[in-house]
Amino acid sequence: MTASTILSSVRQPLATALTGVLGNVYAYVPEAPMVPFVVTVPDAPYLDLETINKSTLHLKINLIITVAVAYNSNPASLDNLEQLIISVLKVIPAGYTIGAVERPTVTQVGPSNVLAADIRVSTYYTQTN
């Protein structure tokens, strides 16, 4: 039996669940994401060990879902970002706790500015093999 990975068991399924939103979805940080985009990145702390026993690894995984839209017009960009955040919140799968959505900030990605916000989520992962 192939060993499980966080990418295949958590980050990719989360990215797959998010594919219905109107944006480009990545399970990792790409070199040049295309706006609007949704990226899953590790939060800090990333992995928490909360359960007893060590024969099987059970981890709490803290992730940030970064959503970003083109920053051309402030009111329109904020509206677009809010709509993208709402659409992401609607499709986050069961088994995830959803924390705060951080304040939107203007961030430079490549040559252009984007309006981005972070959604903090957590879930649990069990290592097999």
Partner: protein, 135 residues
């Protein structure tokens, strides 16, 4: 002798029914207490232990709906056989094992919107009987 450190990761836990409790438990603490009377005599204090009690405190992530759910097993036990012991085996670390009977309790259900659902138990150890095996 080198300093020994044991942690919660050294704990092994199982109970009758065989559900996968280690995947859910975040804390497991067995407490055994001597109930000791103190008498003031002309010679000073004298002591007499009149009873031994035990409690088992368990905190866990709720697992309602899971196959072989711990919460559901305990709920059913508390409902159908509330006065029948469940045998628990707790190993604090290799070489220190405790086996004891607990009375089943109902788990709570539900939780806050921002957090994982959790359940906290304080089980009574029946008659305070704890069987220990030390290496």
């Amino acid at each position: 002798m080198a300093t020994v450190v044991i942690t919660g990761r050294d704990i092994s836990l199982s109970f009758t029914g065989g559900t996968d409790i280690e995947a859910q438990a975040t804390s497991a603490v067995l407490t055994k207490t001597n109930l000791r009377e103190t008498y003031q005599t002309l010679d000073g204090e004298a002591y007499k232990t009149t009873n031994i009690e035990g409690t088992f405190e368990l905190s866990m992530l709720a697992d309602w709906g899971k196959a072989n759910s711990v919460c559901e097993a305990l709920w059913i036990a508390a409902e159908s056989a509330p006065d029948t012991d469940i045998s628990v085996t707790l190993t604090a670390a290799t070489g220190a094992q405790f086996v004891f009977p607990i009375m089943p309790e109902f788990p709570t259900a539900g939780g806050a919107g921002t957090d994982a659902q959790t359940v906290d138990f304080t089980f009574k150890v029946s008659k305070g009987v704890v069987s220990d095996t030390f290496s």
